[in-house]
């Protein structure tokens, strides 16, 4: 069976786009061929910075012949209808159609349309231009003479040539002839830009890949990665060092070269006083080089690994020299940032107001940076105020959360105050991804409590479902406060995630809260924190304040104060501290309702995230639904109930109990629907049989025991209490007829069933459980 070779060669494709583009090409081409009636045995994509290649094996040479019968109008249909039928079926005259008779419909025309199969070459030539023209690049461009006219070809960078050959292994493959914007498919490609720039004529994939390899192009990206990784490790090992592996960097670097040549450079040991993360990022982000560590594993070595695209005629001396020069310049900048962040800021006297507000010690560098963050009035979000204001809120909330999570409130307070201070450091300005980590380093240097330093780094965690969850109570308090403030804030201004849009990563924040709470066993009622406590009251007051003219005026006045080179020159007592003392704290009923509704809406968002989380942990979704109520705001309790319920239902007792309660609920529902009278309460005097008396006693017992257990947050005990109902329910249904002739007895029995429902409902809504 024939094979297809396709190569789209262009000027350098951005490394980050190559993998996806090659995959898209495979999918688009194979889908189009299959749609056109061809089949294939296998397809494999390859890429380099300068080409996307597709190797399709075992393609059918021709699509199958198709025969289609098309039903037409009745033979006595009007002329117009028959003409339309002929046009649609592609017939020249009505004689070419068959006449078929049907007992019901009479005689009508049928056209037999035969579509002969098409040669694969023709199909390929047909589909390729469209695929190339509409290729899903994230960003594409026009170029050259053709771009003078509208509708010219767009590609990620100028497309230079197309190879497209087709044919069975036993024969000379043919060039599939098609053209797009003056680029005609052929069998010629080019090797390495510098090593072997001459034209190469190719036949099929095998000789294509071989010839490219000889022309110093490693076509297979996996092979290039392997070469880089292996050579880098060997080179490191030979110097008694170890490569600091970095998959993302490896992927990128392999997309920057066609012929990887791994070399090692070095820098002055003095730079090793910079934190290793900063060195690694500096060298990685700017130079796309790997760093190395001593084999003992401590810190970094003063060496780096670079990947060149040529086998240089001097063995790489110039390349190493040049890269080393740039790395040194970059590290000089980084060293400067690291040192200047540990020194005093100029104009400290301007920061005193901010320092007082946060209880900062302006003798300490990180305290100065926090004062600066507040003083500059850097906007967090136009409707949610400045970073300083946000820190003030987080601080308040962290202090409130501290006793709940078992943290020292003063440490939580201090950690919250310093948590965002590193945003104004030079190091974080250069590498935003180091936020938190740099704060921790600077906090350690100025002798902060280790719990405070750890909280500064880890309060951003967990950043998603697989990130580690902080365990230290101080960190938990600040991490929860950070995320809750974010959620409450965006809910208050009604900028919630919709569909795939979640620009402030609020889903991640909610999941973070859930994981912090569940994985640390934090028992707390979120609505108390979100809905009615002093924090949220302040929040809503604050929003009103921001919306007020007074706020705008203060901002304006302050922004005209001339400071050092700053963005927004805003300082002083704002928002939370500077509220108008005459503000009416009784707040209107409307305000109160607004908060409560917003709170419930946010809570239901938490419920959605919790369901996803618990399901990922393997919980049954019907059990989650059975346990969650719209007001359920103790996430830990919900999770524990789901777990206990799951355990109960795995036992024989649990299964029978479920069957019994379902049966009770069904009878009750059916009777309620019929309008049968159900007594308001069970009247013990009307209980006739032993079974119903026993059941009644058991229900009372269960109610009290389960209630007590829930109060004690002992959900297993609550389930055990429920399980005790199984036996009396079973024997009740075995021996007692609910539908007694005596209406009052019947009403009483139905009331007993209702009592079962309410007793079990304390624990879960059994009607939502499947099975």
């Amino acid at each position: 069976m024939p094979d297809l070779l396709l190569e789209l060669r262009s000027e350098e494709i951005p490394a980050r786009m190559q993998r996806k583009a090659a995959g898209d090409l495979r999918k688009l081409v194979t889908d189009a061929l299959v749609d056109a009636g061809l089949t294939y045995e296998g397809a494999q994509e390859y890429w380099t910075p300068r080409r996307l290649t597709l190797d399709i094996r075992g393609l059918t040479a021709k699509s199958a012949d198709l025969k289609e019968e098309r039903k037409g109008p009745r033979t006595d249909a009007p002329e117009k209808a028959i003409e339309g039928f002929l046009r649609g079926a592609g017939l020249a005259s009505i004689d070419q159609a068959k006449i078929v008779s049907d007992p019901k419909k009479g005689e009508f025309y049928v056209a037999i349309i035969e579509k002969p199969g098409r040669a694969a070459e023709a199909i390929i030539a047909d589909v390729m231009p469209g695929i190339i023209r509409d290729f899903p690049w994230p960003k594409s461009m026009r170029w050259g003479r053709a771009s003078a006219k509208p509708g010219s070809l767009r590609w990620v960078r100028p497309l230079q040539s197309i190879v497209c050959t087709f044919g069975p292994e036993t024969e000379e493959p043919v060039v599939v002839d098609f053209e797009i914007d003056g680029i005609r498919a052929g069998n010629v490609t080019y090797g390495h830009r510098f090593h072997d720039p001459d034209a190469i004529t190719v036949r099929r994939f095998d000789d294509y890949a071989d010839k490219l390899m000889k022309a110093k192009v490693v076509l297979d990206p996996a092979r290039r990665k392997e070469i880089i990784a292996t050579d880098a490790k060997n080179l490191a090992f030979a110097s008694g060092l170890e490569l600091v592996e970095d998959e993302a960097l490896l992927e990128e670097v392999s997309g920057l070269v066609e012929w990887p040549v791994v070399l090692m450079g070095s820098f002055d040991e003095a730079f090793l006083s910079i934190p290793p993360e900063v060195i690694r990022l500096t060298i990685k982000a700017n130079q796309k080089c790997f760093v190395l560590r001593p084999q003992s594993g401590e810190g970094l070595a003063n060496r780096f690994i670079l990947v060149a695209n040529i086998e240089a005629s001097d063995g790489g001396k110039e390349i190493i020299y040049g890269n080393g020069k740039v790395v040194r310049a970059r590290l000089s900048d980084a060293l400067y940032f690291w040192q200047s962040d540990q020194g005093d800021l100029p104009d400290l006297d301007m920061l005193t107001a901010s320092a007082e507000k946060f209880g900062l010690d302006l003798k300490k560098p990180l305290d100065q940076r926090m004062a600066k963050l507040d003083h500059l009035g850097v906007t967090f979000h136009a409707k949610l105020g400045t970073q300083g204001e946000r820190v003030e809120r987080i601080r308040r909330l962290a202090r409130e959360l501290a006793p709940i999570v078992g943290a020292d409130p003063d440490l939580a307070d201090r950690a919250a105050v310093l948590a965002k201070a590193d945003l104004t450091t030079d190091a974080v300005g250069e590498f935003p991804e180091l936020q938190g980590l740099m704060g921790r380093r600077y906090a350690e240097l100025q002798g902060e409590n280790p719990a405070v330093a750890a909280a500064i780094e880890d309060h951003y965690k967990p950043l998603g479902p697989t990130d580690t969850v902080p365990r230290d109570p101080v960190t938990i308090a600040v991490a929860l406060a950070d995320k809750l403030d974010l959620l409450v804030g965006f809910w208050a201004i009604d900028e919630k995630p919709t569909g795939s849009k979640d620009p402030y990563a609020l889903r991640r924040a909610a999941l973070g809260v859930i994981r912090l709470v569940l994985e640390n066993g934090v028992s707390t009622n979120l609505m108390d924190i979100l809905g009615y406590n002093s924090y949220t009251m302040h929040f809503f007051d604050f929003l009103d304040y921001i919306a007020s003219d007074r706020y705008a005026e203060e901002r304006f006045n302050k922004s005209n104060v001339r400071g050092q080179r700053s963005e927004l020159l805003l300082h002083g007592e704002l928002a939370l501290h500077g509220r108008d003392p005459s503000f009416d704290h009784s707040a209107s009923k409307y305000e109160h309702d607004r908060e409560r509704l917003t709170g419930l809406d946010l809570l239901s968002f938490f419920h959605d995230r919790l369901k996803v989380y618990l399901r990922d942990q393997g919980a049954r979704h019907d059990l989650i639904d059975a346990v969650i109520t719209p007001e359920a705001d103790d996430l830990l309790a919900v999770s524990q109930r789901v777990q206990a319920l799951g355990q109960l239902l795995e036992t024989e007792e649990g299964k029978n109990l479920l069957a019994g309660t379902k049966r009770a609920a069904n009878i009750l529902a059916a009777e309620e629907k019929k309008g049968t009278v159900v007594a308001d309460a069970v009247d013990p005097a009307l209980l006739r049989t032993n079974e119903e008396k026993q059941l009644f006693n058991a229900v009372i017992q269960t109610e009290s025991e389960a209630g007590q257990a829930i109060q004690n947050e002992d959900y297993s005990a609550a389930m055990r209490a429920l399980a005790a109902l199984r036996e009396p329910i079973d024997s009740f249904f075995e021996h007692v007829l609910v539908n007694d002739e005596d209406a009052s007895v019947r009403a009483n029995r139905l009331a007993l069933l209702a009592r079962i429902r309410s007793a079990t409902a304390q624990v879960a809504d059994f009607s939502r459980i499947v099975g």
Partner: protein, 315 residues
């Protein structure tokens, strides 16, 4: 080989002259710098305006560029508030533009079998010019030595055809080929001993003085006023030269002078920015105001001869 003092690896001016020769032999008009303060070679009307319209255009020139916020009082060996860009603009972009560029590197002494030359993704955008393009940073041994851009839009107008723009950072390139670590140590004239003139001899004092000016002394009140004036003048000139309803006058008659005012406004904005008197929110609005000027100039340019208005009319 040229005489030694003209060697691009020993002489800053030799480097410039080598590039001039190279691009002149390709067929570029070799222009002189624009006689106004600009932030980059792109602002030269030979690029901004000539990139618009259908007429072919190939030009090369050196452009002194001013970035007031990059002033370091002459204390940073790599950063200057005034430096030189070598600018090449080829419209339409020729199919072998990458090869032409690599040829120019060879001409100034960078052998691609000795040095690792790479095209690394870098999308270019100028918010004040309403311009963007796709291309690369060109790396030589890990150092960015040029910007390579296919203009897609300039002055908010789609380029048709697309122009290719090459921008060489001359100081950085020269530092590399001369092997010096400080820009001020660059040999400017390629002579040795008493005859040698360095970059520092010529520009160190200027860097110090202009840093003071940019960060401390520039009169912000006056600059704010000048910004307003330049903006108003640009609009007034565009208005004055605009084609009337009369069919005899279908060309715009005053685009280049108006564009000068746009350049002026842009530079004043940069100075005000360096002086720290523009807040984040204001910053956006200033950029937008300059962009509106450049867009208006670009649209007017399309109504001129050089902008291809006559071709369009004839067609």
């Amino acid at each position: 080989m040229t005489t030694d003092h003209m060697n691009p690896t020993r002489s800053f001016q030799g480097l410039i002259l080598t590039l001039h020769n190279y691009w002149a032999s390709y067929g570029c008009v070799v222009l002189q710098p624009y006689d106004m303060e600009v932030g980059a070679g792109t602002f030269h009307p030979a690029t901004t305006l000539r990139a618009l319209g259908p007429k072919p255009w190939n030009a090369a020139y050196v452009q002194p560029s001013r970035r007031p916020t990059d002033g370091r009082y002459g204390e940073n060996p790599n950063r200057l508030q005034h430096y030189y860009q070598y600018q090449v603009i080829l419209k339409p972009s020729p199919p072998n533009l990458q090869e032409l560029y690599l040829g120019s590197l060879k001409a100034i002494g960078l052998d691609p079998m000795l040095h690792d030359i790479r095209f690394v993704e870098d999308d270019w955008e100028s918010p004040t010019l309403g311009a963007w393009g796709l291309g690369w940073e060109c790396w030589c041994d890990g150092m960015e030595v040029s910007q390579f851009t296919y203009f897609q839009q300039v002055c908010g107008i789609e380029c048709a055809p697309v122009a290719g723009e090459l921008t060489y950072g001359l100081e950085r390139l020269a530092m590399y080929v001369q092997g010096v670590d400080s820009v001020y140590d660059l040999n400017f004239n390629g002579r040795e001993g008493d005859e040698k003139v360095t970059y520092g001899d010529i520009f160190l004092q200027a860097e110090q003085e202009y840093s003071r000016h940019n960060f401390e002394f520039a009169n912000t009140k006056m600059l704010l006023k000048h910004f307003e004036d330049a903006e108003a003048e640009c609009q007034a000139l565009l208005q004055a030269g605009a084609p009337g309803d009369n069919s005899n006058q279908r060309l715009h008659k005053c685009v280049l002078p108006a564009y000068d005012q746009c350049i002026k406004a842009s530079h004043i904005f940069n100075l005000l920015d360096a002086r720290g008197v523009i807040s984040v929110t204001e910053r956006q609005s200033y950029i937008l105001r300059v962009r509106n000027l450049s867009k208006a100039c670009g649209e007017a340019f399309l109504l001129t001869d050089a902008g291809g208005a006559s071709i369009a009319a004839a067609a």
